[in-house]
């Protein structure tokens, strides 16, 4: 991690959409009177979603004004959490987990793919499609290595299937979320003796009776 600062090129203004504003007012109402500042993280989160996944200065100031907080307090929150992007990101913002379990399962190769195809961290490709960031554990260690692209996890990556995933995203083809190796959730892997499919059916969730072998 390193020091994060506001982006150089900033939009002149930021305004919540009517829908987001209503959503935010609902969030603020969850807290007691005078504790509206508690809604700062949801507010920043929503602002980021609305603004192509990054937070401009105007949005930070807007949130401060809406929550009646000193701007510096909102700024502290925005710079503290790496989930708030202070600079523009690609249409597909890839957060690659590089923590120990993922590293042991080959995240370095995934990283090499990203460095080759996307470039340096925090750098948006010329077509505006991709940017990436190495992050700490995203909590999907069973399916390591993994990345988060925008709101979804993509797991059980290999350089090959990850490249294919990036190709599909770039071409706008539909992609499969979750495991890229055909696993269901985090069931034991293909080399193990048991699997959810052996007991819960071909889709892994329909129950023992759906397994034809057991009939």
């Amino acid at each position: 991690m390193s020091v994060r600062r506001l982006a150089e090129n900033q939009p002149a203004s930021f305004e919540f959409t009517a829908q987001n504003k209503a959503w935010l007012e609902k969030q603020i109402a969850k807290y007691p009177d005078g504790r509206q500042a508690s809604a700062v993280i949801p507010a920043l989160w929503q602002a980021q979603k609305q603004n192509d996944y990054w937070l401009p200065k105007a949005a930070i100031e807007k949130v401060a004004a809406m929550l009646d907080m000193p701007v510096i307090r909102v700024m502290e929150v925005a710079t503290f959490y790496t989930m708030f992007n202070l600079e523009p990101v690609g249409k597909y913002f890839i957060q690659m987990c590089g923590t120990t379990p993922c590293m042991l399962r080959g995240s370095d190769e995934i990283k090499a793919v990203l460095e080759r195809r996307v470039g340096e961290q925090r750098h948006v490709t010329a077509d505006g499609l991709f940017s990436w960031l190495e992050v700490e554990c995203l909590g999907a260690c069973c399916n390591a290595p993994m990345v988060q692209i925008n709101d979804d996890y993509y797991e059980d990556l290999t350089p090959q299937n990850f490249e294919r995933l990036l190709d599909d995203l770039a071409a706008g083809r539909p992609v499969k979320k979750g495991s890229q190796a055909g696993r269901v959730t985090s069931e034991p892997g293909p080399r193990s003796l048991t699997s959810l499919q052996s007991f819960y059916g071909a889709d892994g969730i329909s129950g023992p009776l759906s397994d034809p072998a057991r009939k």
């Binding site: 991690m1 390193s2 020091v3 000193p70 510096i72 700024m75 502290e76 710079t79 503290f80």
Partner: protein, 687 residues
């Protein structure tokens, strides 16, 4: 009270004490960086670790653990705290090693050297070498204002400055950006701090990260002589320490005085230092053919004597300015009265306060520390943030404790706390009068000069006094009637009756065209004297008063003579001489004594001590130094005065940084003023 054993000594401490406070009560010194008695507890530096038996089996941060949270022993023995065990020493050495990992160790080029907490504590807990072979972190230095220089690589993230601006100053200027190793303390987008107390962050910084910018690389703390004195930039009378090297004042720091300023001083009190060197009057001048020409003292006295002999007593007058000491005013009053004049005034702003209405009518009767007892405050025609920043911090402190009802009648302003706004004009005050008794135990009024320095000032004063008596602001055992002054000399002047005698003219009347033939002006620079009168200016700086003068007698500034000042509470305090006046300038009382001899009306004292003895004989409360003698509330005027005007209360201070001749001579104050008004962006940002 709870029993606790500290290093083998059992003692009783209040249960709400922290371990750190308990250890201090036991006489043990606990090293600390982030802990500050007047700020909230952060517990992030970990330097104050102690060993606790009966607590978790690890070192405990003593600042953040309360005595009542410790468990007693199995047989009900009191909990045991060790401050000097091997475990404590090792733990603190570990903390110190971590703190020094990213600290640059550039003490030889750091202004904090010699008065640095980190340097001092490293002597006790530091290791002689580093085990850290990686690169040290470097941090960019943000601009945070004209008074504080930053060197953020030295910062140890104690967050004292962040807590100070959030809690005491109330401007929320500073914050900690980013996280972990990358934390940076800065203002929002490197804007200048907006507080009038911003200089204090350099004092509370335990390392050399925040330093006073105007004193950058000027002096080492051990080279300077320290003189304990009193600030005169406002009427609060903050306790200060003047550091001098040779004949030069190098810097001004606060002293602790819990009754007045706790341990803060305003930016103006701290940084007018360069104003003491600029624009100084260092020799006498006499106006010849319309031009001021340098003269000797005897020539100047001769010119004054010639004019005085040709002038009737009733056509002579005397004005005293905002920075004059009580001795000077007392001597000037004696001199002018001996010349046969009753035209004496120290109220150059035309304020309608007068000693004949009793001392209670012009004092901050509750006292500044008394603000903390108040449960309701009505501010009338005042902006305490500009008029007395340190006192405003006290109001804010009380407000933060909760349960305080605050109201304001006057010009709307950001006072750093919330208040109910009742209106801007005297009519709002009249309307407030109809509220009847309020359901508060200790309500108080703070009446500013903006409400009193106007033609209907007396009517407003008596109306306020009437309301105060009606609604219980003044009652048995509680006097909540407070006048907030802005001039350091004012209360002293009123105390000795430096006001027009029988048939005498007041300041406004004296300065009108044709009112007088001769005027002695003791540093009154905020008033225009109409052409015609022969003006003798006795003062330290070449400001408005000196430009208008016909004879200039160069006098000492407040750092260069010992003088009594009475603060807005009526507290009699000494400003001590820290260095000598420049050139031929002399102390004010000595000038007046010498002048009186030249005028043939020799004043009856030969030394400052004799003068003070006379002063104390005439006004016995001056004997009680450092003490605010309570005034008799029964004598408070009510029902006098006249009709109220409809005009709203204005403001007394337009530009906080430029309120007196010393501040106007200071380049640092000029820069602060320009930054505050947004007139120019700072240079560092423009690069």
């Amino acid at each position: 009270m709870t029993k606790i054993v500290i290093d083998g000594t059992e003692l009783d401490v209040p249960a709400d004490y922290t371990l750190l406070q308990a250890c201090e009560a036991a006489g043990k010194e606990i090293p600390r960086f982030c802990y500050h008695e007047r700020l909230s507890i952060a517990g992030n530096c970990r330097m104050c670790l102690v060993e606790v038996k009966g607590g978790p089996p690890k070192p405990t941060a003593s600042c953040a653990m309360s005595v009542k949270d410790l468990r007693p022993g199995p047989n009900g023995e009191p909990p045991v705290v060790l401050t000097n065990s091997p475990m404590v020493k090792k733990a603190r050495e570990g903390v110190m090693e971590f703190l020094l990992i990213n600290h640059p160790l550039d003490c030889p080029i750091c202004d904090q050297g010699g008065e640095c907490d980190l340097q001092d504590q490293a002597m006790a807990y530091g290791v002689d070498s580093s085990r850290f072979h990686e690169n040290k972190r470097a941090v960019a230095d943000p601009y945070i204002g004209p008074l504080v220089k930053t060197c953020m690589t030295r910062c140890i993230k104690c967050t004292r400055c962040v807590r100070f601006t959030a809690e005491v100053a109330g401007t929320m200027d500073m914050g900690a950006m980013n996280r972990g190793e990358d934390v940076e303390i800065t203002t929002y987008l490197e804007s200048a701090m907006t507080s009038e107390l911003s200089g204090n962050v350099a004092d509370i910084c335990p390392v050399g990260a925040l330093l006073p910018k105007p004193q950058n690389f000027q002096a080492r703390p051990w080279e300077m002589n320290k003189t304990q004195s009193i600030d005169v930039m406002d009427a609060v009378g903050s306790a200060i320490r003047i550091d001098t090297r040779g004949r030069e004042v190098m810097r001004i720091l606060p002293r602790v005085n819990d009754l007045v300023n706790e341990e803060w001083i305003s930016d103006k009190a701290r940084q007018i230092v360069d104003g003491l060197k600029r624009q100084r009057l260092d020799r006498a001048y006499v106006r010849v053919n319309g031009k001021l020409q340098a003269a000797s003292w005897s020539q100047a006295f001769a010119a004054i004597a010639a004019k005085a002999q040709a002038t009737q007593g009733a056509r002579i007058g005397a004005l005293a300015g905002d920075l004059a000491s009580v001795e000077e005013m007392f001597a000037l009053k004696m001199l002018v009265e001996s010349l046969g004049s009753q035209n004496i005034d120290c109220r150059q702003d035309g304020v309608k306060l007068d000693p004949k209405f009793g001392r209670a009518s012009y004092l901050f009767n509750t006292t500044i520390a008394g603000i903390e007892q108040a449960d309701a405050i009505m501010i009338i025609g005042s902006n305490p943030r500009k008029e007395a920043p340190v006192l405003n911090a006290r109001i804010r402190k009380r407000w933060r404790q909760g349960g305080l009802l605050l109201g304001l009648i006057g010009e709307k302003a950001d006072l750093t706390y919330d208040y109910n706004y009742l209106g801007a004009d005297p009519a709002a005050l009249e309307q407030f009068a109809s509220h009847g008794a309020i359901q508060k135990e200790r309500p108080m009024f703070i009446i500013g000069q903006a409400a009193l320095a106007r033609p209907d000032g007396l009517a407003i004063l008596s109306l306020a006094a009437k309301i105060a008596k009606n609604i219980g602001v003044v009652k048995d055992g509680w006097n909540g009637f407070n006048v907030l002054h802005t001039a350091a000399a004012r209360v002293g002047g009123l105390d000795i009756g430096f006001t027009p005698g029988e048939g005498g003219l007041d300041a406004v009347a004296m300065t009108n065209p044709g009112a007088l033939d001769m005027l002695f002006n003791l540093g009154a620079d905020e008033i225009d004297v109409a052409p015609g009168a022969f003006v003798v200016y006795i003062g330290s700086h070449g400001d408005r008063g000196a430009h208008r003068a016909d004879v200039i007698l160069p006098a000492a500034a407040y750092t260069e003579q010992t003088g009594i000042y009475v603060n807005t509470e009526g507290r009699v305090q000494y400003a001590q001489r820290a260095c000598f006046p420049p050139g031929e300038a002399r102390e004010g009382w000595a000038i007046l004594r010498a002048l009186s001899e030249a005028l043939g009306h020799k004043l009856p004292f030969d030394s400052a001590d004799m003068l003070r003895a006379k002063l104390e004989a005439a006004h016995p409360h001056f004997v009680n130094y450092d003490h605010a003698t309570p005034a008799d509330a029964d004598a408070l005027v009510a029902g006098k005065g006249g009709a109220l005007e409809a005009r709203p209360f204005g403001r007394v201070i337009d530009d906080y940084y430029l309120t007196n001749p010393i501040a106007r001579a200071s380049a640092v104050m000029a820069e602060c003023s320009a930054v505050a008004s947004g007139a120019h962006a700072h240079k560092e940002a423009a690069e």
